[in-house]
């Protein structure tokens, strides 16, 4: 499945790029607050997300909607959390709920919030990438902490290319070649480098969605 998704990516990229050439009007990315809270929580098993901080996206950036007590932070990522070369970078329909563990919240989430602020300030994709890169280089943003990770087990995750894809865990490491974790064909680990942010993201599909049902076909 994963291989198939990767193989079809190239073909779809061209069509999709033309479809989302720039940011859509902001309101297309915003959601009803309670729906967004529920969607954010769906990223992790209830045992984790019920005690997590919940962030929601407002016109001026992410804000805390619910205070938690276990150090996890759940939120709904929008399309601009994708790699800068992703053709769906501006897809207003894309939603990617995630629950960060405390180390992920202290490191990767900080970058995501900064990136969102730049997007909402009307910066172009190139400007966002350049600003993020400079901020990371000057250590205005934190590096990835050991053990920084997140849960993405929501059935409601969506983008045009992958649909709901698979429930998976995300790991955020300092910039390294993905092969250092064995991310390659046949491996249960996928990895990609995020050069502007000086980090490498690893994805590990797991068997069940957050509601406990099995991932039968991935979509």
């Amino acid at each position: 499945m994963v291989v198939a998704l990767i193989l079809t990516w190239q073909a779809q990229a061209q069509d999709t790029k033309a479809q989302y050439p720039k940011m859509a009007p902001l309101d297309q990315y915003l959601m009803e607050r309670n729906a967004e809270i529920a969607l954010a929580r769906s990223a992790g098993p209830k045992s984790i997300s019920r005690d997590a901080d919940i962030l929601v996206l407002g016109p001026h950036g992410y804000e805390t909607a619910m205070k938690g007590q276990n150090g996890f932070v759940c939120m709904v990522q929008r399309s601009w959390a994708a790699p800068f070369d992703d053709p769906e970078f501006w897809n207003p329909k894309a939603v990617a709920p995630i629950c960060f563990n405390p180390a992920g919240a202290r490191s990767y989430l900080r970058l995501l919030i900064k990136q969102t602020d730049l997007v909402l300030a009307g910066r172009s994709k190139a400007q966002v990438a350049e600003t993020m890169s400079a901020a990371v280089r000057k250590k205005e943003l934190p590096g990835m902490e050991p053990g920084a990770m997140g849960y993405m087990l929501s059935k409601q995750t969506y983008n045009d290319r992958d649909g709901h894809w698979h429930p998976h865990l995300m790991f955020f490491a300092p910039l390294t070649d993905p092969i250092a974790w064995g991310a390659s064909r046949g491996s249960p680990i996928l990895g990609f480098k995020d050069d502007p942010n000086r980090l490498t993201v690893f994805l590990i599909p797991v068997r069940n969605w957050s509601d406990g049902t099995a991932d039968l076909d991935g979509n």
Partner: protein
């Protein structure tokens, strides 16, 4: 250093899964007597080529074909095949289990594992040292005392960031009660609470296998869907 610390130092790929088996407690009583001491050495040894194949079965071929492969000989682990991708594949024996594991001396135990480079520098050094002590005829207590001293004196490399490994072999024999368990990945991190990864929370795919003592580290397991040969894991097979 107390016994609990000693136990945790020599954890191995074995121990993690043995400890995890849901039926472990029930089986422990039955298994306590079968392996009271080390069996004759030849029961732990394998045909060299079979051991190389089994070691490689820990990970997908894309990883294991370029990995260094180590095998157990009468005098310890030795490199059988040189690698070029930084991974080290090896078949661990049951003496990487905790000292109180009833299967510590189980000669049937085989735990194929492929460590990435950061994990290999720590874990393979520990495995080599542990096995030397075993083959020198030391008792469990002597082994763990010696390992504790080595770690305290920093004679073994420190744990590195991003240490992880693959355990996806269908041929694994991890315990009498649940020989193959699940194909899985293991992450070895500086000491942290299980809750910091959400491990063990109902519905979480992350399992906290082992929390070492304050000076040591924590291991998390993530079961994956397929064995290293690409076939899916099916419960009960």
């Amino acid at each position: 250093m107390n016994r609990k610390t000693l136990v945790t130092i020599a954890f191995g790929s074995f121990a993690l899964v043995v400890a995890l088996a849901l039926t472990w407690q029930a089986q422990a009583q039955d298994s306590k007597t079968p392996y009271p001491s080390m069996a004759p050495l030849d029961q732990y040894l394998m045909d060299r080529n079979a051991e190389i194949t089994m070691a490689r079965s820990a990970a997908p071929e894309s990883i294991s074909r370029d990995a260094e492969v180590m095998v157990l000989g009468p005098h310890g682990y030795e490199t059988a095949v040189k690698g070029k991708n930084g991974f080290v594949c090896v078949v661990e024996r049951a003496w990487t289990s905790p000292i109180d594991s009833p299967e510590f001396w189980n000669p049937k135990g085989r735990a194929p594992v492929c460590y990435n480079a950061p994990a290999a520098r720590f874990k393979v050094s520990l495995l080599i040292k542990t096995t030397e002590l075993v083959l020198a005829g030391r008792t469990k207590t002597q082994i763990f005392d010696a390992l504790t001293a080595s770690i305290d004196k920093k004679e073994l490399p420190a744990l590195e960031v991003s240490a992880m490994c693959y355990m996806m072999s269908k041929q694994a024999y991890l315990s009498d009660g649940d020989p193959h368990w699940h194909p899985h990945l293991m992450f070895i991190v500086p000491l942290t609470e299980a809750a910091s990864w959400g491990a063990g929370s109902p519905g979480s795919p992350v399992i906290n296998a082992f929390v070492n003592t304050p000076e040591r580290h924590t291991v998390f397991l993530v079961p994956v869907g397929n064995w290293s040969d690409g076939t899916p894991y099916v419960a009960g097979n």
